[in-house]
Symmetry: C2
Subunit: 311 residues, 2 copies
């Protein structure tokens, strides 16, 4: 079962941001990111027959660990397709969670074909990282907890919710939960500059693509285009999107380290970075900021700490 992550405050953060901030630190979730929630909910939703065949996912990052852990808790096999040149730490951590790893050669093999080949042999169920209603519902439990905790603390009003956004599974799940509890709150997608497909898709009303596939330190939130199911929800439920530079994301990582004592990865810090970048937009409001993951190396933290400090 997922960890009920706490709702955190920081008087210094409120002072710097100029508003009342609640943090939902999903870096404290099992496997270090919210991804466990969606994977667990998807597997829990399967029939015993479907589940018995095991699950398969394609990921070199947080989704891989989330699926591996969720499968392990259900006592079923998980197979994760990863590029052979993925960081050793990520391969090791996914293996540690009990998953079978199939490495493929990014230059000469197609990962979809590798996955399809494995599924033919095992009939394992594919778990998409975001374009699945069960995944979206699972990711939405983070905001569900946050909204209940806000009400338990007597908070009657919530103005804005800032969410790190890749394919939009977390954001659309969040939007569903928030709409139920705080119908006046605006949910915002937060992305790295150059990978703001969601921001542009919300503005144009159709699925926009990113010009590049990689090249940002915010690897956890890089996807080519929004997922269709989540986008259909977010078109109805989400407000405008924000985008921040890599440097701004890293400055937020450093702020979390220095002032909040939380380990947050660059992709997981883009919502906090958006808060700092657009302070005028949130002045004196009540804002929920999701810190979506914390799987980062000390070297990246050092790099972040050398940038000018957010104050």
């Amino acid at each position: 079962m997922a960890v009920h992550t706490p709702l955190l405050n920081s008087a210094y953060l409120d002072e710097v941001a100029g508003c009342r901030v609640y943090l939902k630190p999903e870096c404290l979730q099992r496997t270090g990111s919210f991804k466990f929630r969606g994977a667990y909910n998807t597997i829990a939703s399967m029939s015993p027959q479907e589940r018995a065949n095991g699950v398969i996912a394609v990921s070199s990052g947080n989704h891989a660990q989330g699926v591996a852990d969720a499968a392990s808790l259900h006592g079923i096999p998980a197979t994760i397709i990863m590029p052979a040149d993925a960081p050793k730490t990520k391969i090791d951590r996914t293996r540690r969670l009990g998953a079978q790893i199939i490495l493929y050669d990014r230059m000469n093999e197609d990962r979809e074909q590798v996955a399809a080949g494995h599924r033919e042999k095992t009939a394992a169920a594919f778990i998409h990282p975001f374009n699945d209603p069960r995944v979206i519902a699972g990711q939405g439990t983070a905001a569900l907890e946050a909204c209940r905790d806000l009400q338990a603390r007597g908070e009657e009003n919530l103005d804005h919710v800032l969410v790190p956004t890749g394919g939009g599974g977390l954001t659309s799940g969040t939007a569903l939960s928030v709409a139920h509890f705080f119908s006046g709150a605006q949910v915002h997608t937060c992305e790295p500059e150059g990978f703001d497909d969601y921001r542009r898709s919300l503005a144009s009303g159709r699925l926009e693509k990113n010009p590049a596939e990689g090249g940002s330190v915010c690897d956890a939130v890089l996807t080519p285009s929004p997922g269709e199911i989540g986008f259909a929800l977010n078109r109805q439920l989400a407000g405008r999107g924000f985008a921040v530079s890599d440097e701004q994301a890293l400055q937020a990582v450093a702020f979390a380290f220095r002032e909040l004592k939380l380990v947050v990865e660059p992709g997981g810090a883009v919502a906090l970075a958006s808060l700092f970048k657009h302070r005028e937009h949130f002045a004196a409001k009540t804002v929920l900021v999701v810190l979506s993951g914390g799987n980062v190396d000390p070297g990246m933290l050092q790099r972040a700490a050398e940038l000018p400090q957010i104050r």
Copy 2:
């Protein structure tokens, strides 16, 4: 007012430690350590007349920031006596919290005389870092919260409580709170090797001193000898003490970073390090581990991350 810090769990930590662990992360407290609690309680306990004269403390570390922040919240002046060669970050952070800083020359001046000189002029009340019942009561609120939260989660039993220990203010306050809620639980002092005055004092029944004054990375918990008031309490209430090497403390820092996504300083990690070092002592038990502070530089984290991993 102090932050009600959450009670955290980690399935992976439980697996590695071989017991059920609850973490009380005081690194998430205002100013990054539990020290705020004692300072705030002390100032709140003063008469309006006494308080109006302001407060004074001698510290280059977490106590300095705790007193500065607590005084600022009460709207009274704080003066902190710090050695002129203290790290600039610590001086800056204390000043940022509104305190007046008086720097002294460690080689040619006596800090007690510097403090006495200032008190004569201002009649400011001195806040001792640990040897004061009001400070001890304040530090005890961390465990008070933890015990209440344990009960709210239906935890009927607590076997051990591990506490980073310097002068013993946090430990004795913890012991008082724990005795009220879980009378069967053993509270243990945790210190760096070579600075285990508390462990030896509990064993001998009298105040023992450390051979050296400095030289451990665990700067937050280095004190020459236990405080008398706390020791009188801990002699009655605490069980045996533990001591860990600097390397073991740093390995716990790295574990907190890598697996818990919490920033913990070496001195704040000695209780977690003691849990790992003495796993056989805690097998299958329910253990509360206090992470007492998180004021650490990225460089120290990098150094910790290069050590062999705790698994």
